[in-house]
Symmetry: C2
Subunit: 452 residues, 2 copies
């Protein structure tokens, strides 16, 4: 567990940037099929960053002069169902912050706030701040925008405690991927592998940091189905991450052969993606532009696809014309922290340096991060190769790149629908460290583990 | 999969009770820590009952003259991420209902509706019906109340397809409990057993129907923590159920010894609870009052606790004075169907027969069902014994029953903190059928499986 001093230090740093009182809510659990049947409560990330404990319905009021936590006092009638709750005094000692009952919350005039993610919390806040609050709204102005920028300044570069949490998320994410490889065999459904991976996470007292993708149809980038059957010739793509009890995310993708042995075409394409990933990771260092990291991977991908004969033409010209995006239409990665897309609740404000905006180019429109990297930032590096009908069979999407694809070669590689290789990479003072380096990634490493 | 004819028949039956157009929404996925990171979508139960497919954002408009489903047409830009979606024409063929694009939704004047469970859907509805919609609101009036009563009339007694789904939920719930018993051993944490149980459910392509309770502190009735350590002398209480892909719930509790062998005191108290459960199940039959089923279990419990010497006095008098509730403060069970507490979104309207209301007596205030049973109803039967400090150490809660407890006997039984035994029971024409009968429940059956 992270010590209370860490959160006190974070709050102290935030206070230095604040000119007016600010409100950071924890939020409420979301109902599932009826009000009393709820999804597990997950507090808003900004609250977790500053307080460290998921206290449903609690509110942190923080300003230049100090911070007070408003929380629900223990309810004796609820103790029968939920067990004993700490008193507010005990909570105050545990968290190292002044705690008052939530009913005593009185906001001192205009406050800054960050919109919470669900409408329940937004409505609750609206009543207290007397102005509209847009659930999940990322269009911020004035003091709200200044608060967001102050939070981004804190959360972009992870402190030691945050890095420790990310390492712990990586450790358990590694257990999940090893369990997934071991559980893989032809003739079972995707959900069997998913079960093994999620069980490894639940066993550690953690949860998944996002909806697991475990699919033989990796060409569907965010495939949420798990009912497909694993056939011996398939590649299985697993994009699964653990979230620590403190709320910090792992985010890793591996792609491995169901049979335990890749075919020649699978090996060839896997190697191309792996080389692109290694090159991109090598490009991660302080001062490097993340857009350039993306372009590094795309360049290696074009080179590899030219080598295989899938693409025909001059490599540099093909790269400049956006040929990589035909097979790799998403960005090379994103910020990682308390959120799997860290601070995406603030739109592109965290991911994009001031003054920058999304490109409209096919290869870069989905790039979620465009900043110069700094020590303490954590990013994912996740190139891929996908055979996506909506792109490869669509004259409009292909444009004049249609003639650059050798269809007969592509057809010979048709036992590859989707490959993604993703690691979590911490920017260090001298370069970078792959937090998820222990997860099998080379073909022999994975083949040794599958079905074992 | 349930055939489209089943849903058509349900809609036809509902239409016969409707006098005005009614709106049944599917709802929206709930955001987790940011808008794009969502909990798995779970459609509103009334929608699932009538349509059978969890179509996010879809709306069924049903009235005396027919039914139309309004749904989101496939979005080519989303196909990259979510894969190909069926056209509305294909959806119409699959579901056997007229389907129109959601943007074409026009409501014909005043409509009846059932409040959805989250505020996102409620706000969406408000804009379309031009009146306030209270998320999760169970205080219904006029046409809304009539629609609720029509749905209750349909859903109280399960049709053949519903029973088939409940059997399937029971089948997978049984796999989970067997896996949990096998995974139990001293020295691991509760989450290790929870992982094994949930993996058994995920492996079948299903999800849990409610937050799993897997705890050595069974005296906390809805304990959501899973971080406790299993010691050899502990009983482990597991309240875990599977939900089918169609949305139907299993809900089963077993309590077993961590070491694989119950102590003498554990055996004695377990046997008392088991006898109460068997007696209550025997009382389940058409025409029986569920309140009487509750009282049957309470009576057996008082009898057993008198036998053990925990309670001292005349059994019938102790029963009438509410002594059972000292150790069994919740109700004997509830309706089971698409919701684990079926139709609890409508408050007590489904659980309580017209004109009846909750009792204030300690033993019966948490009773969720007070109706005469009818063939096709499905209920849980779940008596328990709990050693709850908030009750047993509270002079106010004990009242004049304090003198009925022999503390020295109770102390000798202190290695039991919580036992609950719960099965899913279908009311049949001639009596009842335990849908979850295959799950080990006797002490020898469980002991044979633990740690195996």
């Amino acid at each position: 567990m992270t010590s209370p001093e860490v959160f006190a230090a974070r709050r102290a740093r935030l206070q230095q940037s604040l000119t007016r009182p600010s409100v950071v809510v924890a939020g409420f659990a979301r109902p599932r099929n009826f009000r009393a049947n709820r999804y597990p409560f997950r507090a808003e990330s900004h609250f977790l960053y500053l307080v460290g404990k998921p206290l449903e319905g609690a509110v942190l009021v923080i300003g230049p002069d100090g911070a007070v936590l408003y929380a629900e006092p223990p309810d004796p009638a609820e103790a029968l169902w939920g067990g004993p709750m700490p008193s507010l005094e005990a909570l105050s000692r545990e968290l190292g912050i002044e705690v008052r009952p939530i009913d005593a919350l009185e906001l001192p005039g205009p406050v800054a706030l960050l919109p919470p993610q669900d409408r329940e919390s937004a409505c609750w806040l609206e009543e207290r701040v007397n102005r509209p609050v847009d659930a999940g709204g990322a269009e911020l102005e004035g003091a709200d925008a200044a608060l967001a920028d102050a939070m981004i300044a804190l959360r972009l570069r992870h402190d030691g405690a945050a890095v420790a949490e990310l390492r712990e998320a990586a450790r358990v994410t590694a257990l999940a991927h090893a369990a997934g490889m071991r559980a893989t065999r032809p003739g079972v459904r995707e959900c069997v592998v998913r079960a093994a991976m999620e069980a490894a996470i639940i066993e550690c007292g953690m949860t998944t940091s996002y909806g697991s993708i475990v699919t033989v149809h990796g060409e569907v980038l965010h495939n949420e189905r798990h009912d497909g059957w694993l056939a011996a010739g398939d590649l299985l793509l697993a994009d699964v991450g653990a979230e620590t009890r403190g709320g910090w995310a792992g985010d890793v993708t591996r792609t491995w052969p169901v049979s335990g042995r890749m075919s020649g075409s699978q090996r060839a394409l896997y190697q191309v993606v792996l080389e692109a990933q290694i090159a991109a990771i090598s490009a991660v260092r302080p001062g490097a532009s993340f857009r350039e990291v993306h372009r590094t991977a795309s360049r290696v991908l074009v080179h590899g696809l030219c080598d295989l004969g899938v693409l025909v033409g001059g490599e540099e010209e093909l790269f400049e014309r956006g040929a990589a995006a035909l097979f790799f239409p998403h960005g090379i990665g994103h910020l990682l922290g308390l959120d799997v897309h860290d601070m995406e609740d603030l739109g592109d404000r965290a991911g994009y340096a001031p003054g920058r905006a999304r490109s409209t180019a096919p290869g870069e429109r989905y790039l979620r991060l465009d900043r110069e990297l700094e020590p303490g930032m954590c990013v994912t590096i996740e190139p891929g190769y996908y055979r996506i009908p909506f792109i490869l069979d669509d004259p409009l999407a292909l444009g004049d790149l249609a003639s650059a694809i050798d269809r007969s070669v592509l057809d010979r590689l048709s036992d590859v629908r989707g490959i993604r290789i993703e690691d979590d990479v911490l920017v260090t003072e001298s370069g970078s460290e792959v937090l998820t380096a222990s997860i099998p990634k080379t073909i022999p490493e994975m083949e040794a583990l599958i079905g074992s």
